[in-house]
Amino acid sequence: MLRYAFRRLISFALALVVASLVVFFSLEVVPGDPAAYMMGLNARPEAVEALRAELGLDRAPAQRYVAWIGGMLQGDFGTSYTYRAPVAGMIADRLWVSLPLALYALALSTLIAFPVGIWAAARRGSAADMAVIGTTQLGIAVPNFWFAMILVAVFAINLGWFSAGGFPGWENGFWGGLKALTLPAIALALPQASILARVMRSALIDTLGEDFVRTARAKGLSPGQALRRHALRNALIPVLTIIGLQFSFLLAGAIIIENVFYLPGLGRLVFQAIQQRDLIVVEGVVMLLVFAVITVTFLVDLAYAAVDPRLRRG
């Protein structure tokens, strides 16, 4: 297990390095000088030059890459070109909306998908199972941001149960913040829950056909007991992978959903930054999200190996 973990750790680190190179150098080819852009049209050349030096733009790309990585490792993401504020602080503020939203959605999706998937698998071929298949088929086809708009129209505008958008801030109470994230989280969660429920169902149906489940039944367990004690645990491996994969989709999805609800999250930050050509903010946000995805993949790999020793040889 240790050797496997070490090998995965090395490829994890390598992936991060290559990803950071891709992010940094793909934005490096952008035409135009951020310093000249910040100073405006009438700036004196000396002033632009001074700002270039201040931002470190006068150095070679390789040097700036090393400085950028070194800074990020110490929590310094550079200074925003438009706001003249530390990017790390701006990202941290927004992360307090986007991350809870993604986790909230992940929790909802798992809480819905597990019982539904198990329930359908246990009644395979019944009318209830068919209803689950049909509903999830539809759920997969619904774009989450459109579903979000429908939720706003019904639950915020018509029924008035929720506010149509905006975020009161966590400092004004946990429940108020959670309430503001509820509709966005539901919109994000339902399509993902549809996928997860289908995976849960088919994984469980596969394991229910295994010999060890028949053995469990033969020794006198009821179908429910055999499912709970033997089949479920073995069906969890594909389900875990999908949950890991979904986290990255939920983070990316959160960025889009934030637009529907006017939430001050990473999405709003990055789309504004693109319009203002504030590339260092774009770099910071993209790198953070890629880091999150790579880390989750790494952790899922380790969790796998912990659950199933056969995978350690891989």
Binding site: A19, V22, V29, A141, P143, M149, I150, I255
Partner: protein
């Protein structure tokens, strides 16, 4: 079989609408007609008009063209690059090349198509082409993985051994024997990626990273409809349902095709 027919009809309907829009639309999608703005469906405008008086049906038809073209070309990019990579990785199983291709795949997987689109848009500015490239890049590792997985098990079969004894090289075997045998799988995966591409394109153009005005696209129609949903719900319902029906149709087609093309799965299900 039933799923394939229902799905084919649903998806085919929108593909037909996209094709028809090249030669005929009920009203010009770029002509503004303020006198007829925000009309409810019916009465000269089958699906109503938007806040500029543009015909929603015409916009949905032209929008179908954009969505379908973006998703289809993105599948082409994914297959064109991913399949050869997957074939090469399987042919050189366990080698440095195989390892490099698989690690490269993992790396691309770490960039959801939205992030690729953000990066490309930050560099080149927004356009439908960016959406195609972003979704296409996202598709590459998917096809590479599916191809490699299927090809690996084929390489252990007797008929491949026979081909090798006959003196055929690995590249030739990959092209002549492996590829035809993974084609079914690729068609099924292609349908799935097609439907995912429609969803991704809608999301990208919704946040302004896809097709730009005045070209209508389903995602941007939804973005514009958002503020008017309480008094003009048809503006949100029509493009939204178009996306749902197209994606649902393609997914059903994928399921149906899998049942027909992969007898192994059919036997397990029966």
């Amino acid at each position: 079989m039933r799923a394939l027919v229902i799905g084919g009809v649903l998806a085919g309907l929108f593909m037909l609408a996209a094709l028809v829009s090249f030669v005929w639309v009920p009203h010009d999608v770029e002509a503004l007609d303020i006198a007829n703005r925000l009309k409810a469906p019916g009465d000269g405008y089958v699906l109503g008009t938007d806040h500029f008086g543009r015909d929603v049906l015409s916009m949905v038809m032209v929008g179908a063209r954009v969505s379908i073209a973006v998703a289809l070309v993105a599948v082409g990019i994914g297959m064109g690059l991913g399949v050869p990579l997957g074939l090469a990785a399987a042919a050189a199983r366990g080698s440095l090349l195989d390892e490099a291709i698989m690690r490269g795949n993992d790396l691309v997987f770490a960039f959801p198509s939205l992030l690729i689109a953000i990066l490309i848009t930050a560099v080149f500015g927004p356009s439908a082409l960016n959406a195609i490239i972003a979704i296409g890049i996202f598709n590459v590792p998917v096809f590479a993985r599916v191809t490699r997985g299927a090809a690996l098990s084929l390489w252990t079969r007797e008929f491949i051994l026979a081909a090798r004894t006959a003196g055929k090289g690995r590249a030739r075997i990959s092209a002549e024997h492996i590829l035809p045998n993974v084609a079914n799988l690729l068609i099924v995966q292609g349908t799935i990626q097609f439907s995912l591409g429609i969803l991704a394109e809608a999301g990208l153009s919704y946040v302004g990273l896809g097709a730009q005005p005045p070209t209508p696209s389903w995602g941007r129609m939804l973005a514009e409809a958002q503020t008017m949903i309480s008094f003009a719900p048809h503006l949100a319902l029509v493009p939204g349902l178009s996306i749902v029906m197209t994606v649902l149709g393609l997914n059903l087609m994928g399921d149906g095709l899998r049942d027909i093309l992969d007898p192994r799965i059919r036997r397990v299900r029966a």
